[in-house]
Symmetry: C7
């Protein structure tokens, strides 16, 4: 870059560069237009091959093809842009090849500064190869949870249920939790007072759960037993296997049913309790 | 730099440098003035091409052009300043080219110290290329949330709703949340007492929500069900899809309507409860 | 890569490359098909040798063979894909060998960016070699706990009890806790009021524990003594050795038995207590 | 440094160095005195050009000139000290040039150890160039908030409102919040009891705010609505745009006015509430 | 690796390699069997020399020999496996020597990726050399506490008291706490009410402690004095030196004795106190 | 180091080294004694020049001279020790020069390991050069606050007000807060009950503050206004400018005066309040 | 290492190495025995010179000699073990010299992996040189507090007051607090009720403190004043200078005296207070 700088300083000084300026601008315009056309053709082809035919396959194959199709669009865009930029730079006399292959202070700084970019691409490549998650899955990575919209070469876009788009570099996706592969488990803890008969309460819950109907329920809910005894009461745990990622919906349904069953059977949900000892005090 | 130092020490010693001093100062002044003029012309051109024509395009295209226009102003300023500094330094006999291309202790320190600068520029480049967010979007990165004012090559300026300007280096923008792409979801949790009829309360909320009118509302609010049962009451969740980033406004409107509907129907919002057992105590 | 870029730019310019294009596509298709067939044969062989014969061995040997079998499937997939990609790239004239062996800015960035990939593979190799955990074990690493599904060369999949799949890179598995090797210990703390006779309470617990029957119990539960005296009462600790990873189930059984024994013997679980001094106050 | 060490050890051994000692001390004293004089002249010139003329310009230009003037004083001090130290060292026969340009263990350690120094200078340079903040602005970076006193090449001094001086290296100023660029927003949340008429309360607040006079107020305060409904009451939010960084003063004025308006209209600020159920208990 | 890849690609192409395949498999099988036999002999010898003779020595020497014996088993396993893998690889024509000694992108990545492996081995070596802890000691490192089961060259296995096995890489064992070297100190804090006579309470505790008998007690417990005065009472601290790592057992014994002594002497453990002022209020 | 090791192993083998041993020990003793004498003379000179004359200058100059004097003692000690160790090592035939200038595995490890040492020295140098703080100032860095005792080349000693000495490496002193440069501000927040007349309370505080006399007070305390309205009362803020680092003393004086003024005027400091609703409950 | 591996593989193949095996084992045994003897002699000499004569010197000198003596034992052990291992390895034909001086992948990994080892030694060296703390001092570094037992070249052993031994690598001892250099300050905060006369309470405390006798007390305790006014009462602070590290003992003595003085003078320690407003409520 320094060599180029020296020569361009020289060029600026004697003003000889201005003659070839017009032609170079014309050629660069052609390169940019051609690259946009090439990209449009490539994206159309990818859509036809990967995305539109996806419906012909099983759900698992289609999921895979959608993911790879969106990635390919992303990758071809980078490649076409990269080639176009290289061509444009070579038009104005800059050849980045030797610079990138050489070393020195600038190279050291670029090498260090670009390492997270390289890590993003490597990790993105393995996310696809290992099929860790696909477009449409609900995942959580770090503090971001939502539905995967796009897996790009460098970043993944996650759409949260409240509408925000989280854009996460792939290199930051170290540990990822996928909620869409297996059935989920709705876990509901309910407290009953010490004065209640625990066996009776568990029986009522079991009976209520047997009658629970919900589209997302895979197995009948199961009463696990006395999870905890603390100052205000006895906590009973209920679990219910349901279709992937539907556990909040199922838990709300279980909550509503239990509230009504407890109302019918006169079982009280315990308030916090306290024993108070009143003492009289001589006025201060 | 050391070579230069040695020679300048030599120069200072025999005082020969002072003759050429006046001419060099004059030439440097000319360089600085010329660079300011060049920068003014470039910025005017960018404004005319990118910013003023923005109104002729669709909202999405205009958004993009505004962002790129502000970036181009930023980039041209860096390039012009960089060339001017190089010319000034070459006037006083310092050629930074070999230094930057060489290595050694100074080079090592600069290479390490400049890596975050390089990372800033690379990340800034990809923020624009991948269209992660544009000027005018409401985003959150780390603990900083606000409206994007400028996306520069090295830093992004975010204007918080209380008036502060957050200046964040692009290299620190690892994970970014964009609130302006999709519709938002206002989530309101309301508690009713155990003694209340839950079905009736949900019916009242549903009826109230049906009559809610708000400009930012996209779909009619929806009552999800019993979200939680805890010591003080039953929590019912209401959600409402609204235009991007308007969820606090919509949530305030829902709060007000529900408060009035509950007042009309005599549904109480539960206070914390406690059961107290009084015991007498022998005086200590 | 730069050399290739230069030549491909040259190629794109004079359009000579298009002749050989058709043949190269054909050969690449053959390579890809052949690699899928080879992978299918290898996976079948591994399944036959490692997984299907597992039943002939003792539990420990079978566990080991299942783990190594799943790993071998994983490793052979990487090797076959790697060779296929190299062959495809050599078809289109790119030889990555010299690039990877050389150095420079790109090499520096790749070397830094790939270090976590290398660390993943090294750590994965030692997890298998040292038999830290096997497929089917319940482990916890960081905040992720669950049953190991697959130990791959680069990542380990952990299935949580609520159904989520955690995908953790092996390099992040620094410190791992294995719950499936030894018997577990269920620890139950129960509070009794100060007014109660502590000796009598401990006797009742001991008697109840002697009669406790549970399939997962390895030894009779043991009453350790007075663990803590705090403002609301005296805490007594009970421990019970049980089969690996069954301690929540056993703790629930102990909770239920103790609740019923306390009900029978009139021992109260203490509520929080407070002494209140009432003072009259002149009205403000 | 080792070469020098070897020769100086040799010198110390044969005591030949002591002859030239007196002359060297004399020359070094002259260098030190001359550098202090040069620095004094440079600082006087900077003050005359940059700081004293600042009053002739607009506020924004003056702000910029003050910042750059203080920085120039800082930079010229470093340069003069650096040249003086180099001259002194060359007097006693040490030439640091080759050492700094060379490599080896010492060089490696220095290169690594000095990277944060280089990062400080680079970041400081960009703070000035990008006009992120200027002397006199109120900024926050990390946990340090206050008025900027000096922006140096390596450190920035921030004066907190309670009188402490925070000295922060520029390299630690990653993300900075500037409070002095735009108008601030005073946000006041006030609670009213559930029994109150919310519409009436909001009307009273609106009326009170209309009559609020304050020098720092830019726009009339605005009542946003019901921000929150919780166990003790209804929270109403009021916002008021005011001059930069005056929001605590304006919020205090709003607090005082509202307290008096509520007193006049008999609206109570709600205390925490609790429902207590008293049960008798058989004595333990 | 690339050279090998190129040649193996060539080999795969012309299918000449398949002739020598059978012989190579045979030789590799012999190598693997021989290495298992060698390992079996080495482990038997180590057991005989180090572990079985341990009983002839003093406790400290035996402890050391057990630790070193288990480590030697671990180290010989690594060496034998390493040699076997090298021999197998040389059978199939891969010589890793030049690769590991060379450099380049792959070497850089491996060098960085393997640094934590090297750190593990170095730290493990010093743990043994400095006798920081031995097999059977109770230690805590980070959040993991338990009895040391094996100190390997790369990892240490710690068995927690609830049955989990923590596997910690030696390089993560930066700061380690050893509970098994010195006598432990059981610390028990007990509160008495303000109304109690502090001197009398301390006397009762002292008397009770004098009569305390416990196998793990090394010295008679000691009453330190008034540790804290807070809102609910006066806290008195008791300490008791006991055999290493038995302080929870001794603390439970002290708790039980004090509870009974307080019951006998009518000293009350203070409940939290609060002064309440009741005011009448005009109905809202 | 290896070369030396090889030769010394050879030497140990043929026992020839023992002849020259006595003489070397004698010479080393002389070197050590001479270095102690040289250090004593240097320290005496520094004390005479820098520390004893300090009283002749203004406070600011004296402060600077004390700091630099203590640093010079520290630096000369390092230099004399360094030369002595080099001479001793050269006596026993070890020349560290080539080792330190060379590279290799040992050099790499030393270079990395020594980087924090280099950073300490560089930062320490700038602390003095930039006059960030001086001996006797009260500073806070990280969690350590106290009076600076010594600023050394590598570490700074801070004496906390409770008597501990904190020894902090200069490289850890990234962000430092100096309490001794400017006047401090004592900030006192006091609550009054809602029933009180806020204007009257503020008037009483203002009157009391006008009469407050304290040696450390620089300006008359100022009543800022209503800082906060919360559940228990109205918070009024008072500030008072006082001499550097005396704000805890002044705040205690203000506390005492206000307590007495409130007692005289019958203004109550509000206790927490709560509204309780008693409900009867059917016995469970 | 690879060269050695290749040759030893060759050796293992043709079984020629077994002839020289017996002699090598014999020689290695002699080396090991000789090194143990040499170490025993060196340790005895160090003990005689450094530790046993310590009693002849002042406390400060003796403290230093004990520390250095223990370090010397540690260092000589490392040197003797290092030479012995080198001799043993040279017996079996491995020369580590060239390996350590060379570079490559293995060297890179070792260099990175060993950097914390080097940092430990450098920091340990400066802890001794700067006399930061000595054997017998009470220090705190990070979360570990206790009495220093040994300062080794690589690790420092700290004995906590409850009996655990903390082993901390010197490189982790960044910031260290030494409690044994200066007198400590016992700080006791005591609350009195608002109704109490603050002046009288302070007078009683002052009088009580005047009569306090304690061996560890250096100066008479001092009553600082009203530290805090909060909801429950007025906090008065008392400080007392005492001998190093005896502040918990002195604080306990002050607590006991004040409790008794308050009992005698009828000053009450305030319980938390609350104002309750009782409202009747229509039954829900």
């Amino acid at each position: 870059m320094m060599d180029w700088l020296d020569s361009s300083i020289a060029a600026v000084k004697n003003k000889e560069m201005w003659g070839a300026f017009g032609i170079a601008v014309l050629r660069m315009t052609i390169i940019l237009v051609a690259s946009r056309v090439a990209l449009w053709i490539l994206h159309k082809s990818i859509d036809r091959i990967m995305l539109e035919r996806a419906s012909k396959y099983t759900a698992s194959q289609a999921r895979r093809m959608t993911t790879v199709g969106k990635l390919l669009r992303n990758v071809t865009a980078y490649i076409v842009y990269f080639i176009a930029i290289m061509l444009v730079l070579s038009e104005i006399g800059i050849n980045l090849g030797p610079l990138l292959a050489g070393a020195g202070v600038v190279g050291l700084a670029i090498g260090f500064g670009a390492q997270s970019l390289v890590k993003d691409v490597i990790t993105g490549f393995f996310i696809i190869l290992e099929d860790q998650f696909a477009v449409g899955d609900v995942i959580q990575t770090g503090q971001f949870k939502g539905t995967v919209e796009v897996i790009g070469l460098r970043t993944t876009k996650i759409l949260s249920w409240t509408g925000e788009v989280h854009i996460v570099p792939n290199g930051m996706i170290n540990e990822v939790t996928n909620f869409s592969v297996n059935n989920s488990l709705a876990v509901v803890d309910v407290s009953v007072a010490y004065e209640s008969n625990v066996d009776q309460a568990m029986q009522i819950i079991t009976d209520t759960m047997k009658e629970l109907k919900h589209d997302d329920l895979v197995k009948e809910p199961q009463v696990l037993g006395v999870q905890l005894m603390n100052a205000s009461g006895v906590t009973i745990r209920v679990i219910a296997e349901c279709r992937p990622n539907t556990h909040p919906v199922v838990a709300r349904a279980i909550n509503k049913e239990m509230k009504e069953a407890f109302d019918r059977n006169g079982i009280e949900i315990p308030y916090p309790r306290m024993v108070t000892y009143q003492r009289s005090m001589k006025e201060g």
